[in-house]
């Protein structure tokens, strides 16, 4: 472990490689986390099915790829497919748990996650899949810094998508309604906003964002049905660290997550990658707790 840290310090170019690659995958994380922040902020539902929407999006792109369609067309298709799925999940499960306590929504979406995960396992098998575009990786500085062009494309695609969604939220009538509902659902209802419709729209939009992000994941990574939960946990880490309604925070935390994961996996070994992601969640929760306890008024004995 210390040897690996020493390598990072001694070879700044190598560190640069790791940081760049971390930032590139971090953009996809940030996009997924943005979807979670949306659902969490607007309807107060903690969606544990987030990662499984992502993996389903990846399988949509993969299926299209097997049919001979270029995977980047998979992005809009996955967006559409997951939109429909999100709407169905909302209408059958989520709308019934919005009024309940948060643990209920957590558990209900966990159930959705298990159904999706196992269905994907039965339909697509548990083998690792990937969509290979056969692009040569780009090398800089005597092959020390290598960048996969697919990651670069995915990075920009994620940014474009994020810009599109944010513009939609800022400019469109529906976006305004969503933001109004998130501020105060009761007042929004008084002002004539159909909050039920807003909730359905928000949840579908989140699923669609996840699907599009999943199509990008298909191109840059190997995936299999069981890695959904780790994507959910990543987005929880990012949103918890950044706080709700803090868009720059979500982006920064997402990129930071990518970098930390890359360097952490190198320093400790790749077998620790999942542990790093989950461990980061614990760290973020505990740091928030310590910060909050400073403001607490209750005097301990």
């Amino acid at each position: 472990m210390w040897d690996n840290i020493k390598i990072l310090i001694d070879a700044p170019l190598f560190t640069l490689d790791m940081v760049i690659n971390g930032l590139l995958i971090g953009a996809v994380f940030a996009l997924i986390a943005y979807g979670l922040a949306l659902v969490w902020g607007v309807m107060n539902v903690k969606n544990l099915a987030q990662g499984d929407f992502v993996i389903l999006g990846a399988y949509v792109a993969w299926t299209l790829f097997n049919w001979g369609i270029h995977p980047f067309f998979g992005v809009p298709v996955a967006f559409g497919v997951l939109w429909v799925l999100g709407w169905i999940v909302y209408k059958t499960v989520v709308y019934r748990v919005i009024e309940h306590d948060l643990f209920t929504s957590l558990l209900a979406t966990f159930g959705v996650a298990i159904v999706l995960q196992q269905s994907m396992n039965l339909i697509f098998g548990s083998d690792e899949q990937t969509v290979s575009l056969g692009m040569e990786s780009m090398s800089f500085f005597d092959n020390v810094v290598t960048i996969q062009p697919t990651r670069l494309i995915a990075f920009f695609a994620a940014i474009l998508l994020a810009i599109a969604v944010i513009t939609f939220m800022k400019r469109s009538r529906m976006g305004q309604a969503i933001r109004a509902t998130s501020q105060n659902p009761r007042s929004a209802r008084v002002m004539g906003i159909d909050t039920e419709k807003v909730y359905a729209f928000t949840y579908s939009l989140n699923a669609a964002i996840c699907g599009a992000a999943g199509a990008l994941v298909a191109v840059i990574w190997e995936f299999q049905p069981y890695i959904g939960l780790i994507f959910s946990i990543r987005s929880f880490v990012i949103v918890t660290a950044a706080g709700l309604g803090n868009l720059p925070g979500v982006i920064a935390a997402g990129l930071g997550m990518g970098v930390l994961e890359q360097t952490g996996a190198f320093v400790l070994g790749t077998q620790f990658q999942q542990a790093i992601v989950v461990g980061m969640l614990l760290v973020v929760l505990l740091v928030k707790l310590i910060l909050a306890s400073r403001h607490r008024q209750v005097v301990e004995q």
């Binding site: 209920t104 196992q118 039965l122 946990i233």
Partner: protein, 353 residues
Amino acid sequence: MSALMNNKMAKIVFYAAILALGIFLPIWFPNYIGQLTVMWLMVIFALTWDILGGQMGYNSLGNIFFFGVGMYTTAMVQVGMFYDLAEYTSPAGGEIYTFNLTQYFSGMAVGYLVAGLICVVFAVVLGRLMFGLRGPYFAIGTLALATVVGELVSTWELVGGGSGMSMPNFPGEPAVSKAMFYAMMFALAIVTFLFLRWLYGTHFGLAINAIRDDEEKAEGMGIHTLRYKTVAWSIAAFFLGVAGAIYGNFNNFFEPIEVAFPTTTFGIFMVLMVLLGGKGTLWGPVIGAILFHIIKEVTWTYLLGWQWVALGLLIIITVVYFQQGIMGWLMDKKPTWFGIRVEGEKQRLGDMQ
């Protein structure tokens, strides 16, 4: 049930019937003794989850952590008392390790005790950190805890890493060991139940209910909430740790992710069983666990691979449509059974308003 419950004689008959069932079921159905052992394990899972989830309002998704810790602790003690643990677990060694009767049972006795105590220590230490988290954060935090420990243990070479560990072989007939582990699990389930029945009737039970209903107010009333929460978690941890230890011996072999820290199977079953039976009640978890286990064992093999999808659907249906559980539903329909006085028209009018 009220007439039944009020009558002391009937109560004794009721308990004796359950005791007799627990003893005679494995004798009548010797082929199902393994499933019956797991059924009592499920009862322990549900009962211990309900201490926090039902009675105290802290929904943990990571209680399975103690189950795994208990299993690994007892394995390390049982092997480590007589052999070198690193050699025992090394994949290269082809040696066969035998344990004679005294070694086996002394290892087991010490191992179970240490497993329970280590779990209590973990609960006290981790409780200080985790109990600051409220509501869903506690659920996510504990889920993360169990997952991360499972991942870390699977990279720990001393205990066999990802390929797991096998327990000492039982020195004797396999049938005897099966019956023995059944009896131990059944006894532990009964002890857990009786202990919790006593506990919920004490001041302690009232205090943790107060924490569930309004933690700030409970604190205002002078209840040292952190202390109560830690003790409650320690109780759950102790029983789960011992259950994990027995299950490790019963299974004879375990590996970290699927058996010792199965957050997505046993870890979620315990929540589901309590919700199914009715949380916050004494009998709810027991009924939920037994019902769930029977449904699971009967239908599982007929679902041809779709059983996990069915599990997810069961979670969704229970959580979304059947929140109150069987006991809650019964209390709603037949309140007189539970000694709740219904005041006729007045009550119904009150409900309508």
